[in-house]
Symmetry: C2
């Protein structure tokens, strides 16, 4: 286990300087702060440093790192997490990674230096050294929404395979054969799980297996619009489009409207992983896999509080529900 001497040596500073940085003293320069924090992260020093003392300080504050605060999935999750935490006497402070591992690392530095009792973390792709150090510390941590390869912290996420199966059944019932699928990044477990479930299930649901109809964006609207245009450029003319998250559906819809015009676009049915309140009023209305973001947030908080109180927490996949808004549906 690394000691403060190891950290100071690696950072090229005096032990006193390293100690001041790690205890959050104001009497440090930005340069030494960044060197010491980087060295501590590389060496996993945090395990016996600030994290443990933070934990003992019992601040009744939880940290929550979300992937994209503009994505309603995460803002609803954050809101529910904060209400659940509040019911237990905790306040939540939030930070946004903006789907960017470097930004996530900067936030993890801040959370490590602030006084929090535990961390709810929605990861951006694979482990970084910073994240690895934090996971190795004894700060209680649960993962939200996405898993990380090689990390066994409790995960509170969506039943992605179940949600995709609901959409596939709906596509089959609606008689769609030429379906465009716009996925998310394969490096996110949510992107990979939804993509894999779609590819594995489409044939059994009577959907064309031509891979020209499948593409992927970045889970944001612009990347999804580009993916949709690539599908149209390959000459495919889908009767339905399945967006792997809400922002993906938005981008795909925008691309279809721009390329084909509103009239032709209105003949294409959209189905979305993630429900959006406005879907009911679209033309035609959009059906959706309702991803229970609030319940994921609440379950994550309950799991984290169990860890903070010395108990154990078990991963949970929260079921989705399907909102059928197609013509002739009961809804």
């Amino acid at each position: 286990m690394a000691t403060i001497k190891d950290v100071a040596a690696r950072a090229g500073v005096a032990v006193g300087t390293a100690s001041r940085v790690l205890s959050g003293s104001p009497q440090t320069s930005p340069d030494s702060r960044s060197r010491v924090l980087a060295a501590a992260a590389e060496l996993g020093y945090i395990a016996n440093g600030p994290a443990r003392s933070l934990r003992r300080a019992r601040t009744d504050v939880l940290g929550l790192l979300v992937s994209d605060i503009r994505n309603p999935f995460f803002s609803e999750l954050a809101h529910a997490a904060e209400q659940e935490a509040r019911a237990h006497g905790y306040t939540v402070i939030l930070a946004n990674a903006n789907e960017d591992a470097a930004q996530a690392d900067a936030v993890l530095d801040v959370f490590a230096s602030q006084r929090i009792d535990g961390l709810l973390l929605s990861p951006q792709g694979p482990k970084t050294p910073r994240l690895e150090a934090l996971l190795a510390s004894d700060l209680p941590i649960v993962l939200l929404n996405r898993s990380i390869e090689g990390v066994d912290a409790p995960l509170y996420g969506t039943d992605n395979a179940g949600g995709v199966a609901q959409a596939l059944k709906w596509l089959q019932r609606r008689g769609h054969r030429d379906v465009a699928f716009i996925g998310g990044p394969e490096t996110f477990s949510t992107g990979a799980e939804r993509h894999d479930a779609y590819l594995a299930g489409r044939e059994a649901h009577g959907i064309c297996t031509d891979d020209a109809l499948v593409d992927a964006g970045d889970f944001l609207a612009d990347g999804a619009a580009e993916a949709m245009l690539r599908i149209l450029d390959r000459g495919a003319l889908p009767t339905a489009v399945f967006g792997a998250n809400g922002q993906t559906t938005l981008g795909a819809m925008r691309a279809v409207h721009e390329r084909l015009g509103a009239e032709a676009a209105s003949l294409i049915e959209f189905v979305s992983f993630d429900d959006v309140e406005w879907f009911a009023f679209m033309s035609p209305p959009v059906s959706a896999v309702k991803n229970d973001a609030p319940e994921i947030g609440r379950a994550g908080v309950r799991g984290l509080l169990a860890l903070i109180n010395g108990g154990t927490a078990t991963s949970q996949r929260i079921a989705t529900t399907f909102i059928d808004r197609s013509a002739g549906s009961a809804a």
Copy 2:
């Protein structure tokens, strides 16, 4: 000016206990923490306490308290603020007040005890004692979106009167006379300013001045739906509905669809203060006053950084733009 002895006396604890609480020591009970923090808030002690030392610690962290993280206006503002801060080497930690002054106070306690260099604050109605104490401290603070009566911190907000004027011009151009207006809470400056500008301007734009057509919700969808139903219950049959923020427009639309059915609802034009990406694909498309949330967030960060660096900051009202999506418009 209150001293730590005053705080201890008011809290009914020893001076050493008060000191430990205020310096964030772990060796304090929840009971004494809450009593000392309450006493410090009531006495405005924070002015010379943790806030000053926090400020000197230069953590390169900014706090941002938003009113409602599920409202895209605030999530976009938060995202832009965080990107601007990041460009200047700062990380932003966020908290959500959920349009609730008590929850805002809990968050302000946390921000006061965490190490932040400055605070961006979107207020919930009038001053609370907690907020008053923080404003009296020397922690640099700017207000976002909403002003507070009797507080002269720099405010970065929207040109509400200008935005309402854009919507009024559009309503007149579209020939609407019977317009329903759903406002927000009068206790929020944004609610009051939009409401006042609408009432002051409607007659000059040929809009019916019958107050049966005017009601207000809580800036959330459910409250707005109730307000819309009250208007319909009074026997009014508007040809257009103006929602004073995005969530208000959503609630009003839901109420109109539920009460009148999709076909009759599609004959009513909606115009919204706050633009939403999905508006382009509604039936009919919704026109909107685009409230420049990202620029408000960026301007707020620039103002706060000026204060942190010992300079001055000047309030700014950011102009809105009008997005005309009506049939026959160029867009």
